[in-house]
């Protein structure tokens, strides 16, 4: 019995001993460390497609409209508007004075009875204007026409003046002024609002056709009382002044004179992205639309259009288009208030604008000179209406028909993905391009830090090849290019500090060295697919 009990106690001890004999030193003071997952993943990142429009939009900095011309060729367009001076600035009725007087012509000394002497005279004045301007009539809207009468007579004088050239716009009557001058009141003033009158300067004092002629009839009666004395040289004088004249319409002939047109600077941002290399445009066009509201033809010359390069070099416009003024039609006097539209195109056949734009100018000074009644223009009765204006719109069209040869384009891209790379230890970036464009490119990437120091460079390498052109204008296939860019751990650590990427693209069109130009049709597409092999290290903390 005791032996059995002892055995059972021994068994219990064995059980307890087995249970407590654990050697858990492996777990001694151990804790779960961070879980680290470090696979190498091959990942299709995605793709992005650029139509040719979008591609040039990226380069454009929004300075130009990217559109399509009639041949479905992508076209960059810049639009500016110019404007002439206003009619009131172009046309001014000068301030001027007219004077006259009529002497008694007889000596009367203390007549026995009251005696009346009547006198009259018609005066003719020339309306002073600038240059060779000749005006037939003016519809005034404002201004002053003031007349001062004065008498030398020791007698009462009743006078009447009729200004035949100023016709009341309401009544159709000429301006007539009557008054009385006396020894005690030898002067008389008449102030008239010029806006009430139409100036008619088409007749001379004899009723013959004329221009710029002001006709005035002046008459007076002298009442010589007994005891009064008048001398033959005594007279009644008048001084007329025309000041601050404002007009609605001026008719006549403005002669030949300049019409000021402001200038505009067309900023060609497109070229700002380019550095070295050449780009030659085959068929650029400057399209002008002139809307002339002045009542006279205008001659336009384009000689002052100039392109200014990056370093200030100037390329002036030249060619047949600059040989003689381009004539703009004008509305006739029957169509006052309307405009005549004249379209004009500067292109490679009448100017050197292909050379001008192939110089990759940063800006083009768009300046035209206008002159009235050009020698090569039509004879036309002139008028100037207060609303007359010359509006000029100009559109610079750059159809992308070009030869590009090692043209270096520069673009900056913000880079804020540095933190996304923390878990990457090695990265192989695969870029697969499928290019329908007749344009290939080598790319260099410079990763810049906040101080614009280069922290890492991906050396220049071909990224997309130009699509081939077998015959005709269009590309005949898709050029597929695959390029791998490998980043080591150290490279990635350097890139983490980058804030932006400077992209340098060296671009060349298909068969560029032959000098051929290619056409960029709007349905071309550049598809870029990105894939990556990434050694990542993802830690649980």
């Amino acid at each position: 019995m005791k032996r059995g009990l002892l055995k059972n106690f021994l068994a219990l001890l064995v059980i307890l001993g087995m249970a407590s004999a654990c050697n858990l030193s492996y777990f001694e003071d151990a804790e779960f460390g961070d879980f680290v997952w470090d696979p190498s993943l091959a990942v299709p990142i995605g793709e992005i497609s650029y139509s040719i429009n979008e591609l040039f939009d990226e380069l454009n900095d929004a300075g130009a409209q990217v559109g399509v011309n009639d041949e479905n060729i992508v076209t960059l367009s810049y639009t500016e508007t110019l404007q002439s001076q206003t009619a009131s600035a172009f046309m001014t009725v000068l301030d001027q004075n007219f004077s006259g007087g009529v002497a008694a012509g007889v000596d009367i000394n203390n007549p026995i009875v009251s005696t009346t002497v009547s006198l009259n005279q018609t005066f003719e004045f020339n309306l002073s204007q600038r240059n060779a301007e000749e005006y037939d009539s003016i519809l005034f809207t404002g201004g002053n026409f003031d007349i001062t009468f004065s008498s030398d007579f020791d007698a009462t004088t009743d006078f009447t003046m009729t200004v035949q050239s100023l016709v009341n716009r309401a009544t159709g009557d000429p301006l007539t002024i009557s008054g009385t001058l006396s020894p005690s009141g030898p002067t008389f003033n008449s102030n008239n609002n010029l806006g009430d009158f139409r100036g008619d300067f088409t007749r001379d004092a004899g009723g013959n056709l004329s221009t710029n002629t002001v006709v005035v009839d002046f008459a007076y009666d002298i009442s010589v009382e007994p005891g009064s004395v008048i001398s033959s040289t005594d007279r009644v004088s008048f001084d007329m002044s025309l000041t601050n004249a404002e007009f609605e319409t001026v008719y006549g002939d403005v002669g030949t004179q300049g019409l000021d047109v402001n200038f505009q600077v067309v900023n060609l941002d497109f070229f700002r992205d380019f550095d070295a290399g050449g780009i030659t445009f085959t068929d650029p066009i400057f399209s002008f639309v002139f809307e002339n509201g002045f009542g006279f033809p205008l001659g336009i010359d384009f000689k002052d259009i100039t392109a200014i390069g990056n370093e200030g070099q100037i390329v002036p416009l030249s060619g047949t288009a600059t040989d003689e003024p381009t004539v703009l039609a004008a509305p006739t006097v029957e169509n006052i208030g309307t405009t005549e539209v004249t379209n004009f195109e500067l292109n490679s056949s009448n100017s050197n604008i292909a050379d001008l734009l192939s110089s990759q100018p940063r800006k083009v000074i768009m300046e035209v000179n206008a002159a009235t009644n050009p020698a090569n223009g039509p004879e036309q009765y002139n008028f100037v209406d207060i609303s007359s204006l010359l509006d000029v719109s100009v559109q610079v069209d750059l159809p992308l028909i070009a030869n590009i040869n090692n043209l270096v384009a520069e673009e900056f891209i913000d880079f804020n993905n540095g933190t996304d790379l923390e878990e990457a230890k090695r990265l192989l970036l695969r870029v697969i391009t499928e290019n329908e464009l007749p344009l290939g490119g080598n790319i260099e990437l410079q990763f810049l830090d906040a101080s614009d120091n280069v922290v890492f460079t991906v050396s220049e390498r071909p990224v997309f090849d130009a699509a081939p052109i077998a015959s005709g204008d269009r590309t005949t296939g898709v050029a597929t290019t695959t390029v791998d860019v490998e980043f080591s751990d150290a490279d990635i650590r350097a890139i983490e500090n980058a804030t932006r990427i400077k992209v340098l693209a060296r671009l060349s069109t298909t068969d560029a060295t032959s000098g051929n130009s290619v056409k960029f049709f709007d349905d071309y597409e550049l598809k870029i697919r990105l894939a990556a092999q990434a050694d990542v290290e993802i830690t649980s903390n």
Binding site: K7, N8, A21, C22, L24, F32, L41, A42, R529, A531
Partner: protein, 456 residues
């Protein structure tokens, strides 16, 4: 020590998945420990009446095709461990299993009769089986970058996690004198928590050699769960929902254990058993996460104007699949286990046993083997055994012991006794431990073993 045990226990829990759970050593306790009827229903206890101490009989078995230190790897010079897929890949076989079984005996009443025995018992059980092939671990360790232009097939990955409680009645009876003993147990099994991949669930990813685009194939892409929604969306349920669900739900079914023992000779006994025959149909708390069969190509995302690239990438990939969540009932097999053994008796006290075990998970036959020796005297037994789970796994040395102190029986069985020392160096660890109250040995003892005090 407590801290170390906690860490060790946690590590054990993490290693969830295996395909053996043989409890070879526990099996050797046979008639001395009534709960071994769960392995062999034909065992008849040595005593008249058994009452198991509630909650004090429990066991766990964990085996894998890698060592614990492969899962909880330590870098040189580090005291902390981590899960390192590279280490797991280095340890991986072509096919790898990870199995976990946890059993707690809630109660056991045993009553021995003249020709056999009755039992009434209740257990809570949980088991997890994960099977994966080397290709899957290669993907986890190395990703797909070294398999560009190739297809990575995930078809070899299977998962079955099941937990349930069972209440059953067992009956064992001898025939042909005492030469043949047959035992059967019928159990009401109530499914609790479940997670599994559907039968035939498979997938693959092919990485294009040129643009690294993925061709992803999914077939039978359904994951079934039960009971997990109570945890995942606990805000949608009343406070006592989990308790009510565990206590009673609609996931009940019947299951069976069968066993036979034949005394070919007095010195050679043959035994066979098949346990846990049955299925559970999960009707309550069933959730099915379905992805329609599809083969999709993923070439990345549209990069124009992209923001939150990670989200866009994930959404784009997900959008290529048609997925839904349903609540259809589903049926899952219990993890059937079978034992075959032959015991050679050298006298009454010494027994040698050779045996084989298969757990039939994923319908596979991949048996483990053991050779055991036990020395038994009355209410005491002590044994040693060696077990082998096939190539790539170490031979395990186990031990078992059971003894009574008065009416109190203590027992402990380990298939890999050495695992208690440096457990990280082994791929299998298990234990079975319990305390029972045992009554009525004397009635069944040999007359020669009974001392007549009157005669003395």
């Amino acid at each position: 020590m407590t801290r170390k045990l906690l860490i060790f226990s946690f590590a054990m829990a993490l290693t969830v998945s295996a395909s053996a759970q043989a409890y070879f050593s526990y099996y050797q306790l046979r008639e001395l420990v009534p709960q071994t009827q769960s392995l062999q229903p034909a065992f008849i206890p040595n005593n008249s009446f058994t009452f198991a101490m509630p909650g004090l009989n429990l066991g766990a078995s964990l085996d894998a095709d890698f060592k614990l230190q492969d899962l909880l790897a330590k870098e040189t010079g580090s005291i902390d461990y981590t899960i390192d897929f590279d280490v797991l890949l280095a340890a991986a076989n072509d096919v790898n299993n990870l199995n976990l079984d946890v059993t707690s005996n809630l109660f056991h009443f045993g009553l021995k009769t003249k020709k056999g025995a009755f039992s009434l018992f209740g257990n809570v059980r949980a088991m997890v089986h994960l099977q994966y092939d080397r290709e899957f671990m290669d993907f986890l360790a190395n990703g797909n970058a070294n398999r560009i232009g190739e297809t990575i097939d995930f078809g070899g990955t299977r998962l079955l996690a099941n937990s349930y409680h069972e209440i059953g009645l067992g009956y064992t009876r001898q025939f042909l004198g005492e030469r043949l003993t047959l035992g059967a147990r019928v159990k009401q099994v109530t499914g609790l928590f479940h997670a599994s991949l559907a039968e035939g669930a498979t997938g693959s990813i092919t990485t294009d050699a040129n643009d690294y685009s993925w061709q992803i194939m999914v077939q039978n892409g359904t994951a079934n769960t039960a009971g997990l929604d109570l945890f995942l969306n606990d805000q949608d349920y009343p406070d006592n929902a989990i308790q009510d669900y565990i206590t009673s739900n609609d996931n009940s079914t019947l299951a069976f254990d069968f066993g036979a023992k034949f005394k070919l000779f007095d010195w050679l006994h043959l035994e066979a058993s098949v346990n846990d025959i049955g299925t559970i149909t999960y009707k309550e708390q069933a959730r099915n996460y379905n992805t329609q069969d599809a083969t999709v190509n993923f070439t990345g995302v549209q990069l124009r104007g992209i923001e939150n690239s990670g989200d866009v990438f994930r959404d784009s990939l997900e959008s290529k699949f048609t997925s839904d969540e349903t609540q259809r009932q589903f049926t899952t097999d219990l993890t059937m286990r079978s034992y075959l053994s032959a015991s050679l008796f050298l006298g009454e006290r010494n027994r040698f046993t050779v045996m084989a075990f298969n757990n039939h998970v994923f319908d596979e036959i991949d048996p483990s083997y053991a050779v055991a020796y036990n020395h038994s005297v009355k209410k005491f037994t002590f044994g040693l055994l060696g077990s082998y789970r096939g190539s790539g796994n170490e031979v395990n040395i186990g031990a078992n012991i059971a003894s009574d102190i008065g009416p109190v029986q203590l027992y402990l069985a380990l298939d890999n006794a050495l695992a208690s020392s440096r457990p990280e160096q082994y791929s299998k660890a298990d234990f079975r431990f319990g305390i029972n109250l045992m009554f009525g040995y004397k009635k069944w003892a040999n007359k020669s073993d009974i001392i007549d005090l009157d005669e003395l």
